[in-house]
Each structure stands twice: as C-alpha cells, then as structure tokens.
C-alpha cells in the first residue's frame, strides 16, 4: 500500500502547491526522493507526534493542507487529544496517515499493533476514517481525500499487500462502499486490510456451494448507510471483517444500523478479541490464532448459513465487550496466538 500511497501523494504534491507533508521520524525508503524533491514542503518534525499534529494545525489554520505520516499507534494514540482539539474542533484539512494497520507489525509487539485506532479516531466528531483494502483503493483514497475538507485518518497496511481489485474503480468515492462479489446466501462486509480475506473466504464458500456477496467499506466513517441498508434488505446473514477490536470498530457501526431497523437477521462481527498478543507472530500467524483466517471465517459463515449455533467460536461477535454473566472476566477465551506451542 505504501507504494500506491506514495505515488498518489506525489501527484497531489505536484498539483496542490499548498500541500505540506510532515513525518514523525518515519519514512525511510518511502520519502527518500520525495523529501528532496519537495523539500520546503516536507518536514521531519522528529520523534514528536503531538508536535506534528500541532504544527499541522498551525499550517492548516494558515490555509495549508497537510498530510502527516507515522506508524499507526503513534499518530493516533500518542497524540489523540491534539488530533481532537487542534484538528477536529476547527475541522482542519489534515490527513493523518498511519502505517501498520492492525497486526501488520506483528512481531514487533503490542506497542506497534494498531488494533484500536479506528475506534479512537472514529469517535472524534467530524473525523473521516478511511481504511483502504488494497493498493488500488489506497490510490483512490489518497486522491479522494483531497476533496475532504475536515480532518481524516488514512489507515494503511505496509508494503506488499495483494491487490484485490484488478484495476481502477471508476465509482470510488470517500464515503462509498465498493462492490466486490455478488451472492445471495450471505454478505461479507470488509474494511481495510481484511478485504482480501473476505474475498478468499467467499471463494472457499463458493467451493462449498454457498454464494457470498462481498462488499468493501474502505470508508468506515462516514459509513455508506444506503449500501448497508441494501445489504440488510437482501440478506439474513451478514458478517463484518476488520483487523481491529470489536469495540468501536466497523462491525459495531454496522450493528448500530442493523439493530436500529427491525432487521431480524444475524450479524457476525469478526474482530480481534479483547486482548493484546503476548508473543511474537507474523500478522498471518496472529490473525489465524484469532480465527480470522479466510478458512476460519468461511467455516464460521458456513455454520451461520446452515443455522448452526454461533456462540462458542473464536472471533465471536462482541468479543470486545463480552462480559460473561455480569462478573468481571479474566482473559478472553479465544485461542491465544503465538503462545509457546
């Protein structure tokens, strides 16, 4: 995703003379040429994420547009209040780019995992939250964000993601869902880095004779409610996929809409359970441990479509808030990834 991001950003820098790019000491091999070429509009503020947001606000108050860049947890959690007060309150045109969505930096440990970033950004009034699903969506998102007037959070994976879309998406727009595959048995709604998993799961289901509609929601906020309503009207079984905890995430936003309208179907929220990884592990390893592989998702959806019980599986809906029988529970019960096995 980073290559697509960089290309699109370069185009914007060429076109938009008032666009500035700030980094919090991140971007080796990403911005090496870029920073030379656009020198007066590029700044490494140092290991100083809060200052980066403040400086971005100052620039934006003076009529500039700004893109800030850093590792996802550091540009969301570390400077959350500055994002809130300095950018969201005055609705400034600053896009915060976080690399390392979800468990992309799996082996690094929890400080480098961004599994709550969508929740903390989406909670902020006026914030647009965009989680592209592949390099194609990334490019569209970067270009599309030029038209968003308030603050935005752009959540990128890292490098080497498989493209899901074969080519440009003519109808892509910030705030609009993307149709990926058609099917009448179950709907899989995916955001960001889980889009490829959704597509793979749909393929696995197809091999078992179950037809899944796959819809990408690169924009988590504002959510494409019209598209969602059409999904709800068609399906009794809907799944959401996100590389994020359930609490405050994409699935929860979908749930608010579905539960608000007498829908009566079954929503399965596939999300990271309410725990931090304690051991090292690649993204794929950790996700598999949480029941978030394409195989596990497909198996679980097969059960839903065939009407089997839901509760006892890993990656269960509402894991982020699961509270047992009213008492405080210990660690979540999902398979723990990366344990010394």
């Amino acid at each position: 995703m980073r290559a697509a991001f960089l290309d699109a950003l370069t185009e914007r820098m060429e076109r938009e003379p008032d666009l500035f790019v700030l980094t919090a000491d991140t971007g080796f091999h990403v911005f090496d040429d870029f920073r030379v070429r656009f020198a007066p509009r590029f700044l490494n503020v140092g290991i100083a994420e809060a200052t980066m947001i403040g400086v971005a606000a100052g620039l934006a108050l003076e009529g500039r547009k700004v893109v800030t860049y850093g590792i996802a947890p550091f540009v969301t959690f570390r400077c959350h209040e500055q994002v809130r007060d300095c950018l969201c309150h005055p609705r400034l045109p600053v896009t915060i780019v976080g690399v390392g969505a979800g468990l992309a930096y799996g082996p690094a440990g929890m400080t480098h995992h961004a599994i709550e970033d969508v929740a903390v950004m989406a909670a902020l009034p006026g914030m647009t939250v965009v989680c592209p699903g592949d390099p194609v969506e990334t490019r569209h998102a970067v270009l599309g964000l030029a038209g968003v007037r308030g603050p935005a959070y752009l959540r990128l994976g890292r490098s080497g993601e498989t493209p899901v879309h074969a080519g440009p998406l003519p109808s892509f727009a910030i705030g609009r869902a993307v149709d990926v595959a058609d099917g009448g048995d179950v709907a899989i709604l995916a955001t960001g880095t889980m889009l490829a998993t959704a597509v793979d799961a749909a393929r696995l289901l197809a091999a078992r004779g179950i037809e899944a509609e796959v819809v990408g929601f690169p924009t988590v906020k504002p959510l494409d409610l019209d598209r969602l309503d059409r999904v709800a009207a068609r399906h009794r079984a809907v799944a959401t996929l996100e590389e994020h905890v359930a609490s405050g995430g994409f699935g929860a936003a979908v749930a608010v809409r579905l539960a608000g309208a007498g829908w009566g179907g079954t929503l399965r929220v596939f999300a990271i359970p309410d725990e931090y990884a304690t051991h090292a592990g690649s993204r794929e390893h950790l996700l598999a441990g949480y029941g978030l592989s394409a195989e596990a998702v497909a198996a679980s959806l097969r059960d839903i479509v065939r009407g089997r019980p839901l509760r006892a599986r890993p990656g269960r809906p509402g894991a982020g808030r699961a509270g047992g029988s009213g008492a405080v529970r210990g660690r979540a019960g999902a398979t723990r990834p990366g344990g010394p096995r």
């Binding site: 140092g46 100083a48 200052t51 947001i53 100052g58 108050l61 209040e81 005055p90």
Partner: protein, 312 residues
C-alpha cells in the same frame, strides 16, 4: 482594529479588561488566571501586536495557550473594537459564543481555539513556520501559564521551534507562581523557566509582567537573538488587581459574588500603585502560608463550574 476612546493607553485597556473580567466571573472559574494575564494582553493589544483582530494575512497571531484566561482575551477584543462588548455580559451563558476557553469560529479575532494546556506552542510554531514559508512578516505570540510548562508537549514543541529557527515566534509565560492545586514551585521543585527555554535553543528574558513599560520594552526587542525564538518570562501575581484575589489559589475557582462586585470594581478603577510584588517564579517561598485559601471566606461566591475543583 483601533483602540476605543476609553482605552487610549495600554493601562486604560488593562483596567477595562480587569473590570470586565471581574464582572464576567460572576459566572465561571479562572478569574485569577485572567487577572494575572491582563497586563500582558493589554500591552499586546494596545500596540505591540501588529494588526490584531484583523483578518490581514500579515497580522501577528496570538495563541492564548492558557485558554482558561479566555475572559481577558474576550475583554481585550471587546475593548479594542473587535467584538461587541455586549457579548461579555453573556459569557458562559446558554447560547453565548464566548465559552470558558477560546472557541473556534464563533467570534472574530481569535486565531485558534485552546483550552487544554500545552497545545498552543506547537500550533504557534506551525503558524510561524507558515508565515516564514510565504515571506509574510507575520509573527506568532503565544501566552502560556507557568504551571502549563509542566506539560511535556511544551518542550517537545520548543525543541522543534528552535530547530526551525523561528525567530518570528514569541512565547510569553505568565509566571504567577500558582497553578491548579499548588504553588508551581511545590510541583516542579522550583525549576527556573528561562534556563529551560535557553537549553532548548531559545533566547529568554525575564520581566515584570505587570509593568507596561517593561513589557513594551522587552517586546520591542524580539527577536532577542537572530534565528532563535524568544521567550519572555513575565513575573506576575495571580488575581492581580483585586487585593482579595492576589496570589490566592482559591481564586482559580471561586466566582465573584454580587455583594463583592462593587468593591472589586472600585478597587480596579481606583487602582494606581501595584498592591503586591510579582512573584519570583523560581522561589516558592515567601507567601507559602497563603498556599490555599481557607475553606470558607466571607464575600466569595459559589465555586465555579469549570475546572474540576470545587465542592466535591
């Protein structure tokens, strides 16, 4: 912008601001903080700032990083013709554009909304950098509290400002020696401010923050060193201008009762000689016994709603 006839001099303006501030604080907390900064703001708005309150791109910017002194800013804007003085009457009232901390976009003349301490310096640095990149002569002034300087974000931004050589950036610390729940020296161990700014690459000067001539003189000297941002440590007295309030922690929270109002206003109107010596920010000693006001003092109003203190 132009000074209204009744505020021809910065001292006139300061007196008007103080009277307004006291009146406004029949509602709300932080009267002491606003009184403390009244002279600094008056000197800025009565001449030291270029084109304040206008929308001229080359005007000097003012960031009130200690946003809880908003009332003093509103009064300064009102008494220099930027906003309607009638707005002051509704300070904090339902529907008023004048919130307890400077808002965004509800009235003219406010360059940026603030209220959470420690955020203003980075914003001001961004503004100063923007001004430099487009060659406008604009400068950015930021007013900080001395307690506020405990926030690490102040020093994080300070380092970047000096690295960017923003000599069009001026920080003024309202060093009144009190913060929200203690004397500043009791909380930071009495760390002096000027050496800290200097260690972060700034040029710093101290001055009496209530002496208008001294303030003007030091403001005329910025930048103190080419290529360096300037820090002015303004020694002040919290609550300055009403003897009952001066250097008393309680007046960070209390509001002014109707009963006290005439007496306080009269004191401000008749105010000529400075009633108390500005505190030396690096020593918390002399007035320590006044550390917190007694639990109940005659003549103060109910606790204000703003800052997390007050009757539990």
């Amino acid at each position: 912008m132009s000074l209204r006839p009744e505020t021809r001099t910065s001292r006139d303006l300061a007196a008007r601001v103080r009277a307004d501030v006291v009146r406004m604080h029949r509602r709300g907390s932080n009267v002491g903080s606003a009184m403390s900064a009244a002279d600094v703001l008056a000197v800025l708005y009565a001449g030291a700032l270029r084109l304040p309150g206008t929308t001229d791109p080359s005007r000097d910017r003012l960031v009130l990083s200690k946003g809880h002194a908003a009332a003093a800013l509103y009064a300064a804007l009102a008494r220099t013709g930027v906003i309607d003085p009638a707005l002051l009457d509704d300070f904090l009232a339902d529907g008023s554009p004048l919130t307890g901390h400077p808002p965004h976009g509800t009235v003219p003349g406010i360059d940026v909304a603030t209220g959470s301490l420690g955020q203003g310096l980075a914003i001001a640095a961004g503004m100063a950098w923007a001004a430099r990149t487009d060659g406008r002569g604009a400068r950015a002034f930021v007013v900080l509290g001395d307690g506020e300087c405990q926030e690490g974000s102040v020093w994080e931004a300070a380092a970047l400002a000096s690295r960017l050589r923003l000599d069009n950036l001026v920080a003024i610390v309202d060093a009144n020696g009190l913060q929200g729940y203690d004397r500043v020296a009791d909380v930071d161990g009495g760390l002096a401010l000027a050496p800290r700014f200097e260690a972060f690459g700034w040029a710093a000067r101290e001055t009496d923050g209530h002496d208008h001539d001294a303030l003007r003189a030091v403001l005329e000297q910025v930048p103190f060193a080419p290529g360096r941002p300037s820090a002015i440590i303004a020694r002040t007295v919290k609550g300055r201008g009403v003897r009952d309030m001066e250097d008393r922690l309680g007046w960070h929270y209390f509001n002014v009762s109707e009963a006290d109002l005439p007496r306080f206003i009269a004191e401000i109107d008749g105010w000529v000689t400075p009633p108390a010596r500005p505190s030396d920010p690096s020593s918390g000693g002399p007035r320590r016994r006044q550390r917190r006001g007694p639990r109940a003092r005659a003549g103060r109003g109910p606790t204000g709603p703003l800052c997390g203190g007050g009757e539990p």
